[in-house]
Subunit: 327 residues, 2 copies
């Protein structure tokens, strides 16, 4: 008896194939999707265009993810390859420019790590700390949104270098993680501090050398009040501002002059040429148990929207991942 | 007949001598005093102390000036030496630490230049442009308070390097100077621009690579809107904010991230070890006619307070100097 595929099965089979005539393309089966704060900015129309293309209403959202190649007409990729990079928030995605994908070199580690500690956020932490902040052993380092995907790693990189590290987070549970799991020297729950500047003065009686900026707004003002001479601010993101119609003004920016502060924004994709060096170092740290990592896993593609929105309320504890499929 | 000195004459003679027992000191006769925006901050009480000591009510104000040594117990200084450095706003000043004074190497140039183009403001322009802003030939450079002591030189250094240079100033007279005397490519009167961001877009259709920041506030916001990728902001001062009880907030500081902007504050005194190199270069430019310079001279010590206050209203055209004595 001949087995006849249903229309649905045929349609699905079609999704898994590179369309005929499409050279140098791959089809990805998406496994893990990454929820990242920068995605909020893609929901706003930018004119002139931003470094990241705006989302197009009606089209599939794109973002970083971990995927498996299920079809390929590109010589560098074969069926079964595991990759991370920009993919769609869907089950199968056709990629016509697969050179933007990184092959996964360490599939023995949890694959979801390539949405975080070994992916874009981990590399962001590495670049923003080691390349932008010019850190030195013994310096005082403050990290906001410290329990997030990037912050938890910045703190651990700073501890490995021999810095004194304090983090701010939005719940007592996260503060516990910072102090007891990630090895921060101190941490505080910013929601419970009536005066952020005083909280920082308490944690840094001698001031802050390096601020890894993830939140902006009132926290940035409080930090400027507490920076030391020749301090550096590595500006990675300002999540507190992304959902405001009118951003908060920073009223004490003048302090960068008497304090000789260098404040520098960066975008991790500018640095992707150095990714493999970071990957080698960080995999080694993970295998030696010198770095640990916490993820917040949402199960199923249908959970993706609420998982993404949750970032902006600080609901996630650790890196927010969405599992589409475990293999 | 014996000439008997009056009490007044005796008191004045006393002022011109290093007190007995005071080793390694000099007495200066002050010739030219410099009015500089940073002095405003010394009128505010700082706790912890700022890089510059606060003025002490009842004591003589100090600032940069050009002076002649009229008595000395220091081996490096002899009567008749011309110097520039920190002195008092008075006729004669006792300096017990003369190593903070620079000897004047080029007395053939107008001595008042050592309050400006060859003194602290000129060196500020040099350091802030060449050492902080990392300029490259062909870049787009914007300067606020561009007709002031620092701004006029930044623009000329930038033109000598081959940059496209635009300045903002607060009167049509100053705008004329920028375009026709200092050789700026373009300039505008910010008081006549209803929308600073649009004015900058008009002058820089491709955006700004380097902003030499002298004013802060609304101008800084407008600049951030118009900066190019990998732009640099050399933060020298924010004069628009110094007399405000509540400084204006900068609402678009987040732009430093997508635009990868580096913003850096500096204080010229950190760089004084390199002063002689700057002096050599700039004297050469002056003698070759490659750099020009405009001063606003107030005659007499009694004019000093109003000259200083005038800075904050933009009354001065060019470097504000007070003449105490011409020799």
């Amino acid at each position: 008896m001949e087995v006849v595929a249903t229309e649905e099965e045929e349609a699905e089979a079609e999704l898994k194939k590179v369309p005929e005539g499409s050279k140098d393309a791959v089809v990805l089966k998406n496994l893990y999707l990454s929820c990242d704060p920068y995605m909020r900015s893609r929901m706003t129309k930018h004119d002139p265009p931003s470094y990241n293309p705006d989302f197009v209403p009606g089209e599939v959202i794109t973002g970083f993810g971990v995927s498996k190649v299920v079809d390929s007409t590109h010589p560098n990729f074969k069926v079964g390859d595991l990759v991370w990079g920009t993919t769609g928030w869907e089950e199968y995605t056709l990629i016509t420019n697969p050179l933007i994908l990184f092959k996964i070199n360490h599939p023995d580690l949890p694959l979801s790590y390539y949405t975080g500690i070994l992916g874009m956020p981990g590399f962001t932490a590495y670049v923003g700390f080691h390349e932008i902040a010019s850190p030195k052993k013994g310096e005082y380092v403050f990290i906001s949104a410290a329990a997030g995907a990037v912050g938890q790693l910045v703190g651990q990189f700073a501890k490995l270098l021999g810095c004194y590290v304090v983090g701010a987070a939005g719940s007592d549970e996260k503060v516990e993680l910072l102090k007891n799991k990630f090895g921060f020297d101190d941490a505080f729950n910013y929601r419970k501090e009536p005066d952020l500047s005083l909280a920082l003065k308490r944690c840094f009686p001698e001031g802050i050398d390096i601020y890894f900026e993830n939140v902006g707004g009132a926290m940035l003002e409080a930090v400027l009040d507490n920076m030391r001479l020749h301090g550096r601010i590595s500006a990675c993101g300002m999540i507190s501002q992304y959902n405001l119609l009118e951003p908060e003004g920073i009223r004490n920016i003048v302090q960068i002059i008497p304090k000789r502060i260098r404040m520098e924004g960066f975008i991790v994709s500018d640095h992707f040429a150095n990714y493999r060096k970071f990957e080698d170092i960080t995999v080694q740290y993970i295998k030696e148990g010198k770095i640990t990592y916490v993820e917040d896993i949402a199960e199923g593609l249908e959970k993706a929207p609420s998982a993404l929105i949750g970032l902006f309320e600080g609901k996630n504890v650790g890196k927010q991942v969405v599992v589409v499929s475990r293999e």
